[in-house]
Symmetry: C2
Subunit: 580 residues, 2 copies
């Protein structure tokens, strides 16, 4: 009957819940350490998979994540759906119009970033396959092409995130990298799909390639036109926003099913349909937002963590193989893209930065490795090495770019605050007392003398009151022996006088301390606080917090919302004439 | 290996896409006909299931929706997930605090609405089981209790929707019904779960009941407290909003798995956890919104349509059985709740309206029937009859309430406009010409004389210009021989003078015609247009429309957004001290 019985359902739900919880918690932990969340999500999978749980409690692991039977199929179905929708969302982020406007520079970088890894990687794989893990069924040509593609892929989502964090999204550099990554994605997936599909479907590569190229051409012309025409109809006649959400999911599924049917993997179709859909200016920001949050927030972590269930990452971790792959993968990509960027006239530091940005492989590198492994093209050890390559290159991109371009990460309130730096009951009867209390907390954190900190802040405060209106004050000081910026937030129940322009009693106080020699940090932080508290809802939520965690949550959420709306503005500005 | 092979994946994706598309399109068609969407969604299932497609093209139907194998399991897994999340969302809508404040009147209605159907239905089933379809394995007691419960359930979501449509949400009447439906839901599911669980788990009913009551008590006290404490932590420390979305899904799944493990159906646990989660004032409106839209917009229609795949609704449609169930189901519910409402002092028409509102069974009635059928407690024919009962009672609730309470549905621009009433290029050089063109369109729709309509509008226009500022004008008239309100929207590319207070040229014109004797309609419609165009984004989107459908979509979306924010305000006002 294809039914899930009671025990299957229990196992399915619990397994899904375990993946979801572990992926979110460890993803957040990775971010706290300044790493991309994907690293924590991979670790979550390792913990729940054969690597850790399977070694410690094999019986329990096999019960929670059976490899056979209805519960296993159910979990795999959800993961398959998650990957298809994840790729559709990745496709929606692709901005085709920008490619045309950007012109040759991006195209050169994209092609170099594709062809150099493909040719060098492919050649090395063909000459000495044993070095890179044994091709399972002796298919040297197939293996060589696949291997080259695996080295050649760039991860659009990870790159976009890194650019945003370093405030590079709107720059020429950012646009060059984004467009190059877009073109790279499209071509790399095309090659990979045709190669893998040709094999799996039993058709000749020529036949599969013709079908695939036809599908691509059709989707990006007729499909794109039809999606653009259909969307106003859907929004006018079906329930909103349920109808348009359903339409996005439906078309992605049909695209996925079509490519799967012509023998190319489902996710390629979902990705292409995503591009066609995302290009329509009828797709509203509100709808994108719901889809992105649900797919990237809930489904993507499940997929990444599920990778860890596949193999034992410890027994299959072959250090020399991993090292070889890391060195080769990084070398071909950084050199290929970097040299191309130099050739089209980018100056040296920026050109190498382009290379390191394109080197990030993120989730897409993992998906590609997984598919090849499932298709039997590569060995478990190479799969593990490719996952490591994806994770390490993604983790490297941010720090290397920061160094090469001498960029500082934009300070945000969200990253500076934590629960112990939030005081929800600032028992103080006047502003000097409030400043002393906040300074004591800051001084403890920075191991400075509390009196000395308070004095510096009070000196500044006496010069001119730091009330900024709406019941908010931002006492601040620059201190010689402070290493990094520090913010302490405090709520006063009774209201304090901070000499505010509107004479309103101050109930929300942010103490902002920055290093003496970092003039930018102070300005940035004060500006971000001012922007944040301009929104009355933010002030209301902060003031209603009853615990430090609630105050922290209110401020972090507000910060995220404002940053994402800034990012969207940036995307729209950079983008094109999309009428969002 | 529990893997989905290429063909399974294609079938799974296509089946899901077919259900999604058919459910959305037919759901919208039902709404267009003034019916709840659930009716269209059921029909979508009938078309794709054995009833229609299975009769016309049995081979294709069996290919697209196999009853065995991985693709069947995959689809069932998604449907199971959809039901669990749907019930969790239904639980989040439950407002426990309101129950305490509402007091005895609601409790009396809830208990009468539960006990009268349960006792009368149960007794009739026990006395003459043959009348109601044969209990499959001869379990008269179990069958009797189940049958009573099936008649006793009320659908909170459908009822809330009907109250919103009739603008009754904020009234004492609305609160009485909502709270009664809440209590009814909780108790009916409790009884049903214990009865079904006791049987399925092989435990004694006492044992299952003890476990279930323990679980309920624990979830609604400790679980509720823990959820309220955990949410600020999740929002402060995990990615936002991904983290909190994941948390909601995760806890619902754990709740579902727990009840499934104690032998009570999964959805009961998801429902309870939903109640515990929804009661926290830390759950932000933004997060609720994403979950509701995705679950109710995308997953719920799939579930409802999937019902139609289960059985052949034509061959199993036993008219006499359906009629008996309809009469009995409606009688016990309307009488039970209506009399209870009378007894606690509600006046006559309102008391019967309470009964008819509580009579709506919606999706919850369908879920209950499905579970009982899958557990082998009832026959296919009775399942079909119960689905019919759920659909018919839901369809009846709105019209009957409207009549009993003499309520008119609030006119909304969205329901009055259609594509042919939107002109995107109002070629007119001055306001009289524009009015004549719009009047011609209106006159054709209402089969009136164009000159006569235009003259009435122009007469009103001459008395005083109808420009309302921001480039919008609302020429209007009340006409003796017009049956129902009529609105025509037009965009002028060049801008017209309508004597607007801000002297801005008018580019967006709404011609509003209402029947002479319906003074309320004109005021309502003009007010709703004024509210709509106050938002600059709405004006911008309307003005950038290039096709009538795009203009219609822009206006309908704006209308939906404004209505839902009004509804949320209403819910908050009625609700309690939740800090949304």
């Amino acid at each position: 009957m294809g039914a899930l019985h009671s025990n299957d359902l229990t196992v399915f739900f619990l397994g899904l819940a375990a993946l979801l919880g572990a992926a979110h918690v460890l993803g957040a932990a990775a971010r706290r350490l300044g790493q991309p969340p994907v690293i924590g999500e991979i670790v979550a999978g390792l913990l729940l998979g054969p690597t850790v749980l399977g070694s410690l409690a094999p019986g329990f692991q096999a019960w929670l994540f059976p490899r056979d039977g209805p519960a296993a199929v159910a979990l795999n179905a959800v993961v398959a759906l998650a990957v298809a929708l994840l790729l559709a969302v990745a496709g929606m982020r692709v901005n085709l119009s920008a490619v045309w406007r950007q012109g040759w520079a991006s195209l050169a970088v994209a092609l170099a970033g594709l062809l150099v890894p493909l040719l060098i990687g492919g050649l090395l794989a063909w000459l000495m396959p044993g070095w890179w893990g044994i091709p399972l069924q002796g298919m040297p040509n197939l293996f060589a092409v696949f291997f080259g593609t695996a080295l050649a892929v760039s991860a659009l989502p990870v790159i976009a995130k890194v650019l945003l964090d370093l405030d590079l999204f709107r720059t020429d550099f950012g646009m060059l990298v984004l467009v190059a990554a877009t073109v790279n994605n499209l071509l790399a997936w095309l090659i990979f799909s045709v190669v893998l599909g040709g094999r799996a479907g039993g058709h000749s590569i020529t036949y599969t390639a013709a079908l695939t190229v036809g599908f691509v051409a059709l989707t990006l012309t007729l499909g794109r036109w039809a999606a653009d025409r259909a969307m106003p109809w859907v929004q006018a006649h079906l329930a909103w926003p349920g109808g348009i959400l359903g339409f996005l999911v439906l078309t992605s599924l049909v695209g996925a099913a079509t490519t799967e049917a012509i023998g190319v993997h489902a996710i390629f179709g979902a990705f292409l349909v995503g591009i066609a859909l995302g290009d329509s200016h009828h797709l509203r920001e509100h709808t994108r937002h719901i889809v992105h949050e649900f797919v990237e927030g809930v489904l993507a972590p499940v997929f990444v963590a599920a990778i860890g269930l596949e193999v034992n990452f410890v027994t299959n971790f072959h250090p020399w193989l991993v090292l070889r792959i890391l060195v080769l993968g990084t070398a071909v990509k950084v050199l290929g893209c970097g040299l191309a960027a130099r050739l089209v006239g980018t100056r040296s530091a920026e050109a190498w930065a382009v290379g390191w940005a394109m080197n990030a492989r993120g989730e897409l590198g993992i998906v590609l490795g997984l598919l090849a492994w499932q298709a039997g093209v590569i060995h478990e050890q190479l799969f593990v090495a490719l996952v490591t390559l994806a994770v390490v290159t993604s983790a490297l991109a941010g720090p290397v770019l920061k160094r090469l371009l001498r960029r500082e990460q934009a300070w945000s309130l969200a990253s500076l605050l934590d629960g112990r730096l939030c005081l929800i009951d600032l028992a103080a009867s006047d502003s000097p007392e409030a400043i002393r209390r906040l300074s004591a907390v800051a001084a403890e954190r920075a191991t400075l003398s509390p009196e000395w900190v308070a004095e510096a802040v009070l000196r500044r405060e006496t010069a001119m009151g730091t009330g900024i209106g709406h019941g908010v004050a931002v006492p601040h000081a620059r201190l010689v022996n402070l290493k990094a910026p520090l913010v302490v937030a405090g709520l006063s129940r009774q209201g304090l006088g901070f000499d505010a322009p509107d004479a309103e009693p101050v109930r929300l106080v942010f103490l902002v301390l920055t290093p003496q020699d970092d003039a930018g940090a102070q300005v940035q932080i004060l500006a971000s606080i001012a922007r944040l508290v301009r929104d009355p809802q933010v002030r209301r939520e902060a003031l209603s917090a009853r615990t430090p965690t609630a105050l922290l949550a209110a401020l972090r959420i507000a910060d995220t919302l404002q940053r994402s709306s800034l990012a969207e503005e940036a995307a729209t500005g950079v983008g094109d004439d999309r009428g969002r």
